[in-house]
């Protein structure tokens, strides 16, 4: 049994929250540059220029990339041969998040759903735990903004809907969202599982790099096809038209009940902020 001090987790999580909000992942920056070069629409080119300048400014000044520093979402893989000393893993992650959002001057966006009163510390963090073999602890942090999250949907299809039905729903959802979720977006798709697993998978799918190809060649092909279709919508960066409505489509598939065909579409804005750490 390996022991991980809670304080190590608190410090790492705080660092991750601050870094995720100040540094866009390399794959996102690279894709911005590629798409900026590919665009012919001047408004689209200008939007990418501003996003690249914003990213540079954020790195230099420490100001968050976006004022919406998101709800802090964590995906955790805890090795069965590791244990946390000092407090529970959930408590350590939450304390680290609160520390990071405070010390990084990040916006606290968590509030009571009825009174709308701000909790004041961005808590509680939303954490998805997985137990895995081994003695490592792996934590992914995602800063998920409200504007794009509001454009996300779960839909329970009858099996007869098939891929055709799912594809239509995905494209319609992106079309309807239009300029609202800060395009160019990424689209995370959960297919199968049940109501809640589809939703979790649609978000987890967004942890993959933009360039990452799905290991299953058939699914990889669907991802490419849906991406190409969405980009024909001509919504473009910030809804001003152009070839780039979507930067990437990531699908995660799980077996489902024979009566069901769950689909979740998680919309991610262009500020696709996430970090990971292995302890």
């Amino acid at each position: 049994m390996r022991t991980i001090p809670a304080q190590t987790i608190i410090d790492k999580v705080a660092e991750m929250c601050i870094a995720a909000n100040r540094e866009l992942p390399e794959d996102v920056l690279r894709t911005f540059k590629e798409r900026q070069a590919a665009e012919e629409n001047p408004a689209a080119k200008e939007t990418f220029r501003q996003l690249l300048e914003n990213a540079e400014l954020s790195r230099e000044t420490g100001l968050p990339l976006c004022q919406d520093c998101g709800l802090a979402v964590f995906f955790v893989e805890m090795g069965e041969d590791a244990h946390v000393e000092g407090m529970s893993l959930r408590q350590a992650i939450n304390e680290g998040m609160v520390k990071g959002y405070k010390e990084g001057y990040l916006r606290k966006s968590s509030c009571d759903p009825f009174t709308r009163k701000n909790t004041g510390d961005n808590g509680p963090a939303i954490i998805h735990f997985d137990l895995v073999p081994g003695d490592k602890l792996k934590i992914w942090m995602m800063a998920k903004g409200g504007g794009s999250e509001n454009m996300s949907r779960v839909m329970m299809f009858p099996p007869a809907a098939g891929w055709k039905g799912l594809r239509e729903f995905i494209i319609n959802r992106v079309a309807e969202a239009g300029p609202n979720p800060c395009p160019p977006i990424l689209v995370g798709i959960g297919i199968g599982g049940n109501f809640e697993l589809a939703a979790i998978n649609s978000k987890k799918a967004l942890l993959r790099d933009i360039d990452d190809k799905h290991p299953d060649a058939d699914i990889a092909k669907l991802e490419e096809e849906v991406l190409a279709s969405i980009n024909k919508l001509n919504i473009g960066p910030m809804g001003l038209g152009g070839k780039t409505t979507c930067l990437g489509v990531k699908i995660m598939v799980a077996p489902c009940h024979l009566a069901s065909l769950p689909l979740a579409v998680n919309v991610q804005c262009h500020s696709a902020r996430h970090k990971e750490v292995v302890l």
Binding site: T61, P64, R107, V174, K232, L233, G239
Partner: protein, 185 residues
């Protein structure tokens, strides 16, 4: 597409010359407000109370900034999605509000109100909060401090860069998605 530098408060003449697609730099004072603040403004109007700022010629920026780090007037300050304020906007336009700043689509009711009362909807680049904050020279909370990021702030801006999305003549800059092409594959 023209480029204008406008100083607040805005007049009918300022708004009438704007067309969707124009670039506008705003200098002067703008007020922040989002969901919870709009609800309170509306409640105040219902009760016949005075508002915390003069709506005449005013601009409201839909933003909930991140906290100001030491030595800066404000944190990151990009636009939030505007449709959530659609319920409240027509009434505010009828009372003199000349413009709103945000991102994303507006309802037909808001567009009608902008045509009727001579107002415009401006877009700022969503997610470019660090960049946009550079045009904000001063910020102070003037109402609803308890709302934290949602409190109403008075911002002093210099050449704050905007795009006219909806003008008062019915023009709109956002594209209509080509659903047919996308569904065809």
């Amino acid at each position: 597409m023209a480029e204008y530098t406008l100083t607040t408060p805005l007049t009918d003449a300022d708004i009438e010359k704007l067309k969707s697609g124009d670039v506008v730099y705003i200098t002067g004072t703008i007020y922040t407000g989002r969901d919870a603040a709009h609800k309170r403004l509306t409640d105040s109007l219902d009760k016949g109370e005075a508002l915390p700022f003069d709506l005449k010629g005013a601009l409201i920026y839909y933003v909930g900034p991140s906290p100001a780090p030491p030595g800066r007037p404000i944190g990151s300050a990009g636009p939030t999605t505007s449709y959530r304020m659609d319920t409240y906007a027509p009434r505010l336009h009828s009372l003199g509000l000349k413009g709103t700043i945000g991102k994303g689509k507006r309802s037909p009711e808001v567009k009608d109100a902008m045509a009727k009362y001579k107002a415009a909807y401006f877009g700022a680049t969503g997610g470019a909060g660090a960049l946009l904050s550079q045009a904000i020279k001063a910020a102070k909370v003037i109402a609803y401090e308890d709302l934290g990021p949602e409190a109403i702030r008075e911002l002093t801006v210099e050449k704050f860069p905007l795009l006219v999305i909806n003008d008062c003549h019915g023009g709109e800059l956002y594209t209509t998605p080509n659903l047919e092409a996308a569904l065809a594959g």
